[in-house]
Symmetry: C2
Subunit: 225 residues, 2 copies
């Protein structure tokens, strides 16, 4: 793995970025649907084995040329951010929910409406508590960034008040206050009918190791979007 | 979605369960590798589009026959637990890490060694804070179960002390104490060299809505394994 804050600046036009978003985004959406079918299918074993062999062939085609490790984050000269690998929002990450987070920079808020399905199950029919944490961590980080204080999770406290059935959900987070280099964010997860099921509080901070890495590379802190 | 605690008891032999674990487990492993290749590939757009079309065809084959919604948890008459959909450990869930959690029922502990890759990225080269929470929530829940008090996450507090680079990691959790129907679990995430990067504390409890559902169905609380 490279240095954590070695941000490349790439010479890609907006048209080239739009094309990669379209082409790779469509592949990722197709693979997400395959993920769910893999879990829910009841076809016979012979068919499953044949599909597996074909999945392996397709994987080999994609693996002929790959980036060495993780996707990382890069920027274009035109200011586009290529953070396609992010575990929650990455448009090229089939494991990502996916989540489209809307940042409100005037009020330091972030929100997202999304659908959780069979892939996100914990207790039967319910969203896994860890998936709730995964989603809220991302939305909370984006609220801190929207409020002008991008950082990483320092602490995160989640209170699970009610069950969250699989299906449509929403999350919202907002900057509650600042305390020196700390940004305190509060927020919640809601069922489709608006009932709050999980509340949380997080402290976001750009930790020393990250500030040192950024200074070493002559960079400025990233605005994750 | 059905009732959250409608646990079916199926008339499957151990041999049948072993066969489905083998056949569907192999498909899931293949799809996990496709997930990573989808994120990391640098093949040309025409190849990506051709692979996407073939993925769509394979998905259609699997979708010809599917369970209606989520996978749920079922049991066999022989006592096997089919929780294959779990978002963190499910052997049929391609989004699951996957994690093999070892429960120590004598000491009320649970631990797991696993590998996080490009699919789990947050800050460049680093594990997403939400993925840390996702993994720890599962391991913590299994520690509570190993200690004889299976339950759901009531609260979870995570302290991110150091960065966690992508690669091999481990997690461990243990029952710290009990307080009435609450089980207090502590634990941590470690880098491959044993350095603790995240510490956490959780309260696990079988919430009223779950106890009521279980009573309504005449069942007993599940021992998630």
């Amino acid at each position: 793995m490279g240095a954590p804050f070695n941000y490349d600046v790439l010479d890609l036009t907006d048209e080239q970025v739009d094309a990669e978003v379209r082409v790779f985004g469509a592949l990722t959406a197709a693979v997400r649907r395959l993920n769910e079918a893999t879990l829910r299918t009841t076809v016979d074993h012979a068919t499953v084995e044949e599909v597996r062999r074909q999945v392996e062939e397709l994987t080999a085609r994609l693996e002929k040329s790959m980036i060495p490790d993780n996707f990382g984050v890069s920027f274009t000269k035109g200011g586009r951010i290529r953070g396609y690998g992010n575990a929650v929002v990455g448009i090229r990450n089939p494991n990502a929910v996916p989540l489209t987070v809307v940042q409100d920079k005037v009020n330091g808020r972030a929100s997202a409406e999304f659908e959780l399905n069979a892939l996100h199950e914990g207790p039967p029919g319910q969203v896994h508590g860890g998936v709730v944490a995964l989603v809220l961590d991302q939305v909370f980080g984006e609220a801190a960034a929207a409020g002008g204080s991008p950082g990483m999770t320092g602490t995160l406290t989640l209170r699970y008040r009610l069950n969250t059935p699989l299906g449509p959900c929403s999350a919202e987070a907002w900057v509650d206050r600042r305390d020196g280099i700390k940004t305190i964010v509060k927020g919640e997860l809601r069922r489709a009918d608006g009932t709050v099921t999980v509340t949380a509080e997080g402290i976001f901070i750009l930790p020393r190791w990250a500030r040192e890495e950024i200074a070493k590379n002559g960079g400025t802190p990233p605005q994750f979007e």
